[in-house]
């Protein structure tokens, strides 16, 4: 038998002697074999622990065997203090792991008692073996279950954003977290597939600005990351791990470096990084598809706006400043990203509703008659039918439809009041009024100065405009970026 096998046997027997099942067994036996002392002897009959058994046993002076069962299921000894000892081998298969011994018995136990104790011990051993198997299963499965749960949580965290910059940053931070590393970088291949562009470089100890050399693009095949991107093979070193991001082709690489405790990366961590990379690829691809879809939607809207503009310049569309102002107010109000995107669509085509309004009414200076106002209200809804079939514009439709509503309910087309007016429409209403007041246009009324326009909007909060939007608007006008929004008209 090899040394390791002997050690394994000894270990098993020591654990058995300390197990819960043996405690139950001892309690039970203390009732059957009254006043006996229980001891554990190894395969060579040497006691595991001195002092708890008959004193003679601890010195080995007990070997006066009286008898043993034919199949050595038990043995009876007499120790030198003339007391009876009963021992049972603890066996697995044909291997003896040790012996359980009851010392200081007053008389030789009869066969029925011996059988009862032996059965109890067999049960204790079986119970202990079950316990061991369960422990082994627990130790093997638990870390994997925790890792699986971690991957599931990462999936949830990654699938909750379609913003590419936010996503890449999140992947990098999560990598740093699960790999317990000090450094992580994510690089994506450029369109030519010849260079890797670092998208996120995170270091535990310092903020790395985008101007840092670590953000310089690298050629395919150059450095560790370039090699992984070229060959598609993982690099697994003591202090660094680099894994390709593979969809159908390689789209980039993700790498982690230097564990915080200085220990080397292990295979388990490599497996986690590979799984994380698989999740990351799906999330990156989704974000790329979303970006592409957004680009197509903006392209379609701009084409539509250009067509409308060709019919009557500056009638259906607004200036760039208007779009910027709408978005700035929405961001100041911290509207959700999706709402801001829809607001952006709406801001590119705010006055599609004017499409079928006669030019003489649209361009009429001064106030409108009741009849003319009724025509505007009716035609506003009619004109919106032009864009109602564009699926991607559906969420923006209520904003376009209702941006002429007034907060006090006196606007058109539906006379909605307060919070019943979509938030985006309330934002666009303020930006629309501001643009009308500060721009020079023959049919938009008299041009006034920017401070006057701001004052006018503030004066109308709660009546024409939502006070919350007005506060956000004032906030925007106080920011240094306000000049950029106004552009040439500043």
């Amino acid at each position: 038998m090899s040394e390791s096998e002997i050690k394994e046997k000894q270990g098993f027997f020591i654990r058995f002697s300390k197990s819960n099942s043996i405690s139950v067994f001892r309690n039970l036996c203390s009732k059957i074999l009254k006043k006996s002392r229980c001891a554990f002897l190894d395969a060579e009959y040497k006691p595991l622990k001195r002092g708890s058994e008959c004193n003679h046993l601890s010195t080995g002076k007990y070997l006066a065997r009286i008898k043993s069962s034919p199949s050595r299921e038990y043995m009876i000894f007499k120790c030198s203090c003339n007391k009876i000892c009963l021992s049972f081998p603890v066996m697995q298969g044909s291997s003896v792991y040790g012996h359980v011994l009851f010392a200081h018995l007053n008389k030789e136990p009869d066969k029925r008692v011996i059988d009862a104790v032996r059965i109890c011990m067999d049960l204790a051993l079986k119970e202990f073996q079950k316990e061991q198997e369960l422990n082994k299963l627990y130790e093997t499965i638990r870390p994997r279950a925790i890792a699986l749960s971690t991957i599931h949580t990462i999936h949830r965290l990654l699938s909750s954003t379609l913003d590419m910059d936010e996503l890449i940053e999140r992947i990098a931070r999560l990598t740093l977290q699960v790999m317990r590393s000090r450094h992580c970088s994510i690089m994506l291949l450029d369109e030519s597939k010849r260079h890797l562009i670092p998208k996120a470089v995170i270091d535990m100890d310092k903020e790395i600005p985008k101007t840092d050399p670590q953000y310089k693009k690298i050629k395919l095949g150059v450095r560790q990351e370039g090699g992984v991107a070229k060959n598609g093979e993982t690099i697994f070193l003591r202090n660094s791990v680099c894994v390709p991001l593979v969809e159908e082709d390689i789209i980039g690489v993700i790498s982690a470096r230097d564990k915080i405790n200085g220990a080397p990366f292990d295979r388990f961590e490599l497996e986690i990084l590979i799984t994380l990379a698989e999740q990351a690829v799906i999330a990156i691809k989704n974000a790329q598809m979303y970006e592409e879809q957004e680009r197509m939607a903006y392209g379609s809207i701009k084409t539509l706006a250009a067509l409308l503009d060709a019919k009557s310049p500056n009638t259906f569309t607004h200036s760039d400043q208007f779009v910027k102002m709408v978005l700035a107010i929405a961001e100041e109000m911290k509207l959700p990203r999706e709402d801001i995107a829809n607001l952006h669509y709406a801001a590119l085509l705010p006055d599609t509703g004017k499409f079928s309004i006669p030019d003489e009414i649209l361009r009429k200076p001064g106030s409108l008659s009741n009849r003319e106002y009724d025509i505007i209200k009716k035609q506003h809804l009619e004109s919106l039918k032009i864009i109602e079939h564009l699926e991607f514009l559906k969420p923006a439709m209520p904003i376009i439809r209702h941006h002429h509503e007034r907060y006090d309910g006196t606007g058109y087309p539906d006379g909605l009041k307060g919070d019943k007016i979509p938030a985006g429409a309330r934002v666009m209403s303020v930006a629309n009024a501001f643009e009308a007041m500060v721009s020079a246009s023959p049919y938009k009324g008299k041009k006034i100065s920017i401070p006057q326009a701001i004052k006018e909007i503030e004066n109308n909060k709660g009546r024409q405009f939502d006070p919350e939007v007005v506060y956000a608007f004032i906030g925007v006008t106080k920011k240094p970026e306000f000049k950029n929004i106004l552009g040439a008209s500043a």
Binding site: I146, S149, R156, S160, L174, Q177, V178, I260
Partner: protein, 90 residues
């Protein structure tokens, strides 16, 4: 960070720290962590909030999910490891 000893006085916080010390690569929600350490979800949430405040646990938040992970701060991790050894009598 507060004295580690005082953090260990709270049973839920102690269980969380022992769990993350054993499973430092883990990122999980409060529900997941409660399951791994067999604790009451409300008590675990309260303890996690406290540990995030103390900088021992990092939270990763999105609109729909908040996940928790062990700090990457080497010094804090070392201090906790040292205390756990004393706590377990090793």
């Amino acid at each position: 960070m507060k004295n580690i000893k005082s953090l260990f006085k709270n049973e839920a916080a102690r269980k969380i720290l022992l769990f993350f010390n054993e499973n430092p690569n883990c990122i999980d929600t409060v529900k997941g962590i409660s399951l791994w350490i067999n604790g009451d979800i409300n008590a675990i949430q309260k303890a996690l909030n406290q540990l995030v405040k103390e900088g021992v646990i990092t939270s990763h938040q999105t609109a729909s999910t908040t996940a928790y992970a062990y700090t990457n701060n080497k010094e804090i991790v070392k201090k906790i490891e040292k205390y756990i050894k004393i706590f377990k009598g090793l």
